[in-house]
C-alpha cells in the first residue's frame, strides 16, 4: 500500500489548516455562503437535508486496517456511529458539523487520508478495480497509476475550476470492474503482441441526465506520456467545455458537440504544442510509487485446500457464501473475499463502526492488512488463504456481514436518495430494501443468478441506474415519488445504457414489478443464460408485455 512521505504529510497538513481558516472566516461572516460553498465542497463538505455531509476519499478504493479503524472512530466521535460506502469508492458521513470538520480532517490526516476534491468542479477521487493487485485476470496493478493521478490532480491550479466535476477511472484488467467507459476519462491497460503495455484512453463517458459511453482517443499510450496527455485533454475541456448550462457542462457533451474526431484533433494539437518536459521525473515517481504496491508475500500453496472443501461439506450456508462471494485470486490457494454490505432488507453500503472494526481486524489477521471498497458498495479482503475462509465467514456472521448475495439480486446499488440527499426527487433506499426483502430467499436468488439492480433517487444517477441490468430511477410527480424502470444497462467492458421500459410505478409497486420482470426472464431464458444476455437476445418486448398487460 502507498505510504505518505514527509511531503504528502505536509501537503495534507497545509490543506487542513487552510480549510480551518476558511471555515473560521465563514463562521465569522467574512466569507459569504456563495464564496464558501466551492471551498467546502473541494474539501468534501456538502450541506444536505439533515446536516452537513462529509465525503472522504478512499483513493482507488484501498484501505489499511488502521485507516478503517480511524473511519470507525470518526463515525463514533463526530457522526452517529456509521458511514455510507459509495459507488465512487468514498465513504460519506451524514451528520457532520461545520465546526468539527477541520478536526475530522486532522484525524484523517493522521492515517494518511483526506477529503480533498471529493466534490467540486475539479478532478475527483480516482477510482479503480476493487480487485486490483489480486485478480487472476489482471495485466498489471492499476493502483500505481491511480496514486500518480491522485497526486497530479491534487490542487492542480489549472484544473480546480473546471466547467464541471471530472471523474477518472483506471483498470488493469480486461474484465472491466471499474466502469471505465462511463467516466470522464477511463484508462484501460493493454498488452501488445511484444508484451509491452500501454493505456487506452477513453474520454467522454458518463451517466447523469445524458448517459454516454466514452470514445477512445488513444489506443496505446505509453505510460510515461500519461500525465502530459491528460493535461492536454483537461485543458481542451477547461477552455471549451460549456459553462452556460450546468447540465451540458460535462466533457461528454463537449466530445459529443465537437464530434469525437474534432475533439481528438484539438487534444492532439494541444499535446503537440505544449512544451514537453523530460518525463524522467514522472517515470521515477511512478517507479517509486509502484514499489509500495508490490505484491504481498504470498505463500506457495496448493490450489486445493482440504480445510476449505471440508468446511463447505459441513456447512451448506458457508458453501453458498463461498460460491457467491469469492473471487478468483491470481495465486493458488488464495481467494478474494467480497463482503456484502447488503443484508436482506438493509441499507446498501452502510456499515456501523463496529462492523468497520470487525472488517479491519479480519484484514489485519487474514489479508495482509488490506481492504478495498468496491464500486458496488461492498468491501473486499483481497488476499485471503482458502484455509482461513471458514473462520472469516464465522466472524462475518457474528457481525451481520455474511450476506451471501454478492453479484445477485440482493446486491443492490442505491444512492442515499431523498432520505439524506438535498438533490433527490425520491427515496431510493426503501425501494432497495423492499426488493431485497422480496428476494431474501436464497434459493430464489441463486436461481436468478448474476444480476445488477441499481437505484438512483434522481436523474444525477449516483446509483448508476443507467448501467444496471435493471435500473430504477426515482422521480417526483406533483409531490409524489414514482419510479422509472430501465433494462439492459451494463458498465462492464461491453457497456450499454439501459432502455426505459414504460410508464413509472409508485414506490410500493416497484418490488412486484421487479418480480414480474424476473419471472419473465426465468421463463424465457436458455440454459445458463444470465439476465443481461437474455435481455440482449429478446429485447424489451416480453418484459413490457408482462408488466403492462395486467396493469
Amino acid at each position: 500500500m502507498y505510504r505518505y512521505d514527509e511531503f504528502d504529510h505536509q501537503f495534507v497538513r497545509d490543506r487542513t489548516n487552510q480549510f480551518r481558516n476558511q471555515a473560521d472566516r465563514r463562521l465569522k461572516g467574512e466569507l459569504t455562503e456563495e464564496e464558501f460553498r466551492p471551498l467546502r465542497l473541494m474539501n468534501g463538505l456538502y450541506l444536505q437535508l439533515h446536516a452537513y455531509m462529509l465525503r472522504v476519499a478512499i483513493p482507488y478504493g484501498t484501505l489499511s486496517s488502521r485507516q478503517m479503524r480511524q473511519l470507525a472512530f470518526i463515525a463514533d466521535k463526530w457522526d452517529k456511529g456509521y458511514g455510507h460506502f459509495t459507488t465512487r469508492q468514498n465513504i460519506q458521513y451524514n451528520w457532520i458539523k461545520l465546526e468539527d470538520t477541520a478536526d475530522i480532517l486532522d484525524a484523517l490526516a493522521e492515517v494518511e487520508m483526506h477529503a480533498i476534491q471529493t466534490s467540486g468542479n475539479c478532478i475527483r477521487n480516482v477510482t479503480t478495480d476493487h480487485w486490483a493487485g489480486a485478480a487472476a485476470d489482471e495485466i498489471a496493478d492499476p493502483r500505481p497509476v491511480g496514486e500518480l493521478l491522485r497526486q497530479w490532480s491534487s490542487l492542480h491550479p489549472e484544473f480546480s475550476y473546471l466547467p464541471r466535476k471530472f471523474k477518472i477511472a483506471v483498470t488493469g484488467a480486461p474484465n472491466d470492474r471499474a466502469a471505465v467507459k462511463v467516466h470522464d476519462i477511463g484508462l484501460r491497460l493493454h498488452k501488445n503482441a511484444e508484451g509491452a503495455v500501454g493505456w487506452e484512453v477513453i474520454v467522454g463517458g458518463g451517466l447523469g441526465r445524458t448517459p454516454m459511453v466514452g470514445v477512445t482517443v488513444r489506443d496505446f499510450l505509453p505510460e510515461h506520456e500519461l500525465i502530459g496527455y491528460l493535461e492536454a485533454i483537461m485543458r481542451v475541456y477547461n477552455l471549451y467545455g460549456r459553462r452556460d448550462n450546468k447540465y451540458k457542462a460535462r466533457i461528454k457533451i463537449l466530445v459529443h458537440e465537437l464530434g469525437a474526431e474534432k475533439f481528438k484533433s484539438e487534444v492532439e494539437a494541444e499535446y503537440a504544442r505544449r512544451p514537453h518536459a523530460s518525463t524522467e521525473v514522472e517515470e521515477r515517481e511512478l517507479k517509486r510509487i509502484a514499489a509500495y504496491f508490490a505484491a504481498p508475500q504470498l505463500e506457495k500453496l496448493p490450489r486445493w485446500s482440504a480445510a476449505f472443501e471440508e468446511a463447505k461439506l459441513k456447512s451448506p450456508d458457508f458453501a453458498r457464501w463461498a460460491k457467491n462471494n469469492l473471487g478468483p485470486h491470481h495465486a493458488d490457494g488464495y481467494a478474494i473475499v467480497n463482503i456484502s454490505l447488503k443484508p436482506d432488507g438493509g441499507i446498501p453500503g452502510d456499515a456501523t463502526s463496529d462492523q468497520m472494526r470487525v472488517m479491519a481486524d479480519l484484514a489485519e489477521r487474514y489479508s495482509f492488512d488490506e481492504l478495498r471498497v468496491s464500486h458496488a458498495q461492498n468491501i473486499v479482503l483481497p488476499h485471503v488463504k482458502k484455509d482461513d475462509l471458514f473462520a472469516i465467514w464465522q466472524a462475518l456472521q457474528g457481525a451481520d456481514l455474511a450476506a451471501a448475495n454478492y453479484g445477485l439480486a440482493g446486491d443492490i446499488i442505491a444512492c442515499p436518495g431523498l432520505d439524506y440527499c438535498a438533490l433527490a426527487t425520491a427515496r431510493s433506499i426503501p425501494i432497495s430494501q423492499s426488493i431485497s426483502r422480496k428476494f431474501a430467499n436464497s434459493a430464489r436468488q441463486d436461481e436468478i443468478g448474476k444480476l445488477k439492480i441499481n437505484i438512483s433517487g434522481c436523474i444525477n444517477a449516483c446509483g448508476h441506474h443507467h448501467v444496471g441490468h435493471i435500473g430504477i430511477l426515482g422521480l417526483d410527480k406533483k409531490g409524489e415519488e414514482y419510479y422509472q424502470i430501465t433494462l439492459g444497462g451494463s458498465s462492464a467492458e461491453n457497456a450499454s445504457i439501459g432502455t426505459i421500459l414504460g410508464p413509472g410505478f409508485a414506490g410500493h409497486e416497484v418490488a412486484d414489478a421487479i418480480e414480474t420482470i424476473l419471472d419473465t426472464y426465468l421463463k424465457l431464458r436458455e440454459p445458463d443464460e444470465e439476465f443481461l444476455a437474455a435481455y440482449r437476445r429478446v429485447g424489451p418486448k416480453p418484459f413490457k408485455e408482462a408488466l403492462y398487460a395486467t396493469a
Binding site: R26, L27, K28, G29, E33, L47, Q48, L49, H50, A51, Y52, K80, W95, I96, K97, L98, E99, I347, L418, D419, Y420, A424, R427, I429, P430, I431, Q433, S434, G479, E480, E481, G507, H508, V510, A511
Partner: protein, 113 residues
C-alpha cells in the same frame, strides 16, 4: 382551533452544524417545525423571508427559503415530502434525527415502501 391553516414558513440550515431549522414567531430558529411561524398571506411570508435574510447575514443560518405548509391543532405539516423529511429525519433510520430526539413534527413520517 381545529381548522386547517395553509400558508408558508421559512426554513434554513443552521450554519455551524447544518441542522434544519424553522423560523418562529419570535424570530428565533427552532429545530421543531411545529414551532414555525406560518404566514397566511404573501406579505407576511415576505416579511418572514426578509427577517431570515438578516439572519443569513448575521451567519446564524444559511440557505433560507419559504416552503408551503399547513397547521392543524398546533401541528405543522410541510406540503412536500422533502421538507417532511427534513423536519423528521431519514425514513430508513427512525432511530436517528429529529424524530428520534423528540423534535419531530406531530405528523407521521412519509409512508414506508
Amino acid at each position: 382551533m381545529t381548522a386547517t391553516e395553509k400558508g408558508q414558513l421559512v426554513t434554513a440550515n443552521r450554519l455551524r452544524d447544518g441542522i434544519a431549522v424553522f423560523l418562529t414567531r419570535s424570530g428565533q430558529w427552532s429545530e421543531v417545525i411545529d414551532d414555525a411561524a406560518l404566514a397566511l398571506e404573501p406579505q407576511a411570508a415576505a416579511a418572514l423571508e426578509l427577517r431570515a435574510k438578516d439572519d443569513e447575514k448575521a451567519t446564524l443560518v444559511t440557505g433560507a427559503y419559504l416552503i408551503d405548509a399547513e397547521r392543524r391543532e398546533g401541528r405543522v405539516r410541510a406540503a412536500h415530502i422533502r421538507e417532511r423529511m427534513r423536519a423528521l429525519g431519514p425514513t430508513v433510520r427512525l432511530d436517528l434525527g429529529k424524530q428520534a430526539e423528540g423534535k419531530g413534527a406531530g405528523f407521521a413520517a412519509p409512508e414506508g415502501v
